[in-house]
Every structure is written in structure tokens, then in C-alpha cells.
Symmetry: C2
Subunit: 320 residues, 2 copies
Amino acid sequence: MAERLGPPLAEPIFDELAIIGIGLIGSSLARAIRKQNVARRIFVADASPGALARAEALELGDAFTTDVAEAVRDADCVILCAPVGANGAIGRAIAPALKARAIVSDVGSVKGAVIAELEPILPARARLVPAHPVAGTEQSGPDAGFATLFVNRWSILTPPEGADPDAVRDVRALWEAIGSNVETMSAAHHDLVLAITSHVPHLIAYNIVGTAADLEDVTQSEVMKFSAGGFRDFTRIAASDPTMWRDVFLHNKEAVLEMLGRFGEDLTALQRMIRRGDGDGLFALFTRTRAIRLGIVAQGQETAAPDFGRRGPEGRSAGP
Amino acid sequence: MAERLGPPLAEPIFDELAIIGIGLIGSSLARAIRKQNVARRIFVADASPGALARAEALELGDAFTTDVAEAVRDADCVILCAPVGANGAIGRAIAPALKARAIVSDVGSVKGAVIAELEPILPARARLVPAHPVAGTEQSGPDAGFATLFVNRWSILTPPEGADPDAVRDVRALWEAIGSNVETMSAAHHDLVLAITSHVPHLIAYNIVGTAADLEDVTQSEVMKFSAGGFRDFTRIAASDPTMWRDVFLHNKEAVLEMLGRFGEDLTALQRMIRRGDGDGLFALFTRTRAIRLGIVAQGQETAAPDFGRRGPEGRSAGP
């Protein structure tokens, strides 16, 4: 079942590549770029000396620094992997140090706000090609990353109007080399799509875990014990990095509120079905939602193996 | 990582046990009861000849019938494993055929409505001990079951007032023999606890998948492609058996509406935080929810291994 990387590139795309922020995504990227020979040299920067020390111990790059300007000085490609809220400060710090024709990319989960923030800051000699790999886990930090995280996942490029085609081609080549499928769309459309496929799901997961934590008539111990009935899966999502997700909601406010409004309307309709005992209406919805699931499995974005049971499959063949 | 069953019982608890409904739970129960020597003989009944034929091919019991009265005639213990909405009809059909002192139990996800429906139907010579194993997967049918489904999961007994202590003891012994932890509580409290740990989570998962399916400005193909950002996990929950879940919502209406009301209030507050740009409020909630997750992992109800990446772990040790 393991997703595998293809053969490494015969010739690197970049001589030097800088990764700013060495968390789950940055460290997975560093591992994958190294393994696939995407760059000759990787310079890793992080504001946290602790994270940087872990990255060095894990040999995630060739050089390590807390000074982002130093990290980008010789870079042909700079990838911002810090939480979206830090991009403004990082952009201002690296702007004077960037080489001519340096590509600046990122991995942020919102794109409109990132472009709006970076475009006015970056010098004309740099080439901005924002990207978003739609992949991740609920864990954080340099130890949580792994080289196959992006294999068979989609990465979305949102080049601003007038972006340099060579730079777009190189960023696309980078993601393809580490196993990603690549799609290009406008930043505005990206933000709308991700609001429904990622941001609102996270928000309602955080919300129900919060609701459960605040009950007086059901104890937290009961919530934990009996979580295998479905709640458990929401807590996994709601364990995702708080800083990253705070920044996502602050930077994709409009699309999130729009999708949340629709979710709320639909939930009100569903609530009314329950109150009125409309079994046919409930059954129709619960049947329709299965089709979407099958489509996701067919598209290779999910395994069909049962997961609520967690340790199920090995028991399935046990005869009587 | 596999959950294992302990040694089988030296002496069976029941001579004959009937399982009515051979879906995911019924077939898992049949496999586990056989493996653990809980009953000398298992009689399997199901209204669907197709499901029954699969059960026979899988050797899930010693005898098979579509006639529920026939299945219970010699049973010391009868376990209703059909969707909750079928309990009334099944109860009426088996009532005349039940042996003196036969235990009648079930596995339904709601308990108050089940007791209210079965108590007036069952004869005084039968002993009612409702149960609910808090375990499952998103899959359905006799092929989906496996013997270790209940290992280390909680089963909740909700004996009605005046229930026979010997019958309660035997049902507890059954669940413990197949690896479950057992807790006893009132049906009303059960229904409230499960509303938040299971029923409302399923409802909001069904709801967001429905919302995503109805969008005009985001295509279904986009929703499927980019589902790895979080949405994917909701579709897994929303692929659960529609008949079972329709019945759950119709039979636990009040507790579900109560918990849904609280969820909605909390979501409105969260929506306002986003609209106002209250980053500190968002961060505080997102941090608090991590603690619940840690509690669930600590209680053995979940694995701490990363799951969004699905095929993550084997890549983690890959060095540079």
C-alpha cells in the first residue's frame, strides 16, 4: 500500500534551494527534494533554534541558520514553509538578499492573501510562483515529516497574472519530481475550493471537540471512552497545528464564511428533518453522500480499507 | 498493532445463541463468539436471503434462517443486530417463540427508544438486557465483520429498572469474553453521551459532504481531487450505513437536537471570531482541543500514528 517515489532526477532543477520553516511540510519537502535530486544544495532556515537543531540532527539540509536573509542569498529557489501569518515579516527580511531571477514560492493553505502580501514586498528581480500541496498529517515539527507525503497528492500552483513561465515550469517540475500531481488555477478559486475541502472541515472538527469539552452533563472521561463511535476522527483533525490553522482562518476569511454559511443552512434543514421525523429525507442524503466517497477512492485520494475499526483488516480473514 | 483476543472460555456461557441480523456488527459478533467459545451453537437469522447466503458461505453460524421465530426457539440468548427501526417488528415476531428465561439483548446505538419499544412487546418470561458496543467501521454487510472489532472497545449495558441480575451478569460476561470493556448506565444517559460522541459527529459529516456536493462554483471533481486537506475524513464517516443512521436519528431525536443546538451556538461564536479577526480566540480553542485528543490516545481508544498522510509511517525513517 505504500506510495513510492519514482527514480530521482538525472540533473537537479536548482543549484541551491532555501526552505524557510522546517515543520511538517518543510521537513517533508527537504527529505523529498534531497531524495529526488531536485537541488544540489539545501539551505534550511527556521526562527526556532530548537527546530533547527532537530533539522540538523536529522540531516535535512546542507546548511542551517536562523537568519532568513543568509539562507536565501545564493538560492535559485526559496520556499516559504512557515505559517501563513509569518510571510509578511519573512518577505521583508529576504527581499534585499534575493538573487536576480530567484524564484519565491510557498506552501500555504491560502493563496489570495499570500499573493496580496508578498507581491508588493518582493523586488522586481524575484519571480513569485505560489503553490499549495494538498497533503499533510495532524502532526507538526521537523520529526513529523516524511519524503513520500506528496506522492499521488495534488499540488496547486496559483501564479499571479504575468508570472514568468519559466519559473512556473520549474516549480511544476519540482512538485512532479517529488511525486505530486500539479494543477494550476487562480488564487481566488483555490481559496474557495480549499474552504470547502479543508478549512471548513477543520473548523467544524475544532468546534465539535470544543462543544464536547464544555458539557456539564457528560464528563470528559465519558467523551474519551466512547469516542470510537465517530468523535475520535474529529479529534484527530482537531489536533492539527493551532498556529497554522489560526492563520488560515484569518487569511481566508471571506471564502470560509461563505462556505460556513452554506453549511449552516444545510444543517438547519437537516435539523428540521430530524425534528419532523422525515426518515425518507435523511435516507436520501445519507445515500447520496456515499457516491462522493466512492469518487475519492476511485481517484486514488483515499484507501478503501476500513478505518474506524483501526486494526480491522487482519482479523477479517479469520474463519470460524 | 493488532488488537488480540484473549484465550477462549473453558466453558461456554450459553448453549444456544441467536443473532438476528448478520451485518457488520452481527457478523463480527458471530465470529468473536465462535472464536471465544461463548456459545455451543449459533443460530443466524436475517431478513435478506442474500446476506444469509453470505453468512452461510462464511460459516458464521451453525444454522441459518430467514424466520426469526425459528432462530430463537431454543436460544438462551438472543441478540438483535438489525437496524434499530426493525426492532419492533422483530420483537413481535420472536415474542411467542422465546424460551422461559431467554435473555434478549441488542447492539443498537440508541437505548431509550429500544427499551420503550421492546419492554411492552416481550413476554414476562424473557429477560431484557440492552447493550451497545461502541465500535464499528464505515463498511456494512456480513463480509465486513471481523472477530477483533470489539477488543479494547467499550460496550455499554443499559439494564432497565428491575432487570434480572443473572442476565446482566451473563451479558457482561459475553462482552468481556470477546475483549470488550463493559460499563453500565441508564438508557437516558447513554443516549445523551452517544449523541455527542457519535450521532452528532455523523450528522455533521453527512451534512458537509452534502454541502460540498451541491456547490455550483466548485466542481465535484475538484472536491474529490483536493479532499486530502481534511474533507476526505468526513466522507469516510458519511459512507456509513444509511438505514442504520436514519434509524438512529429518528430514535434519538431529543438528545441529538439538544447537542446539535449546542454545536450550533458554538459554531456561531467561532464564526464571529473569524469575522472579527480574533486570532487569540481561535488559537485558544485550537490549543484546547488537542488535550482531548491526547486523552483519547492515552485511554487506548486511538493510535497516535499519523493518519492524514495515510501511508506516512514507512517513509519516516528514510534518511537523506
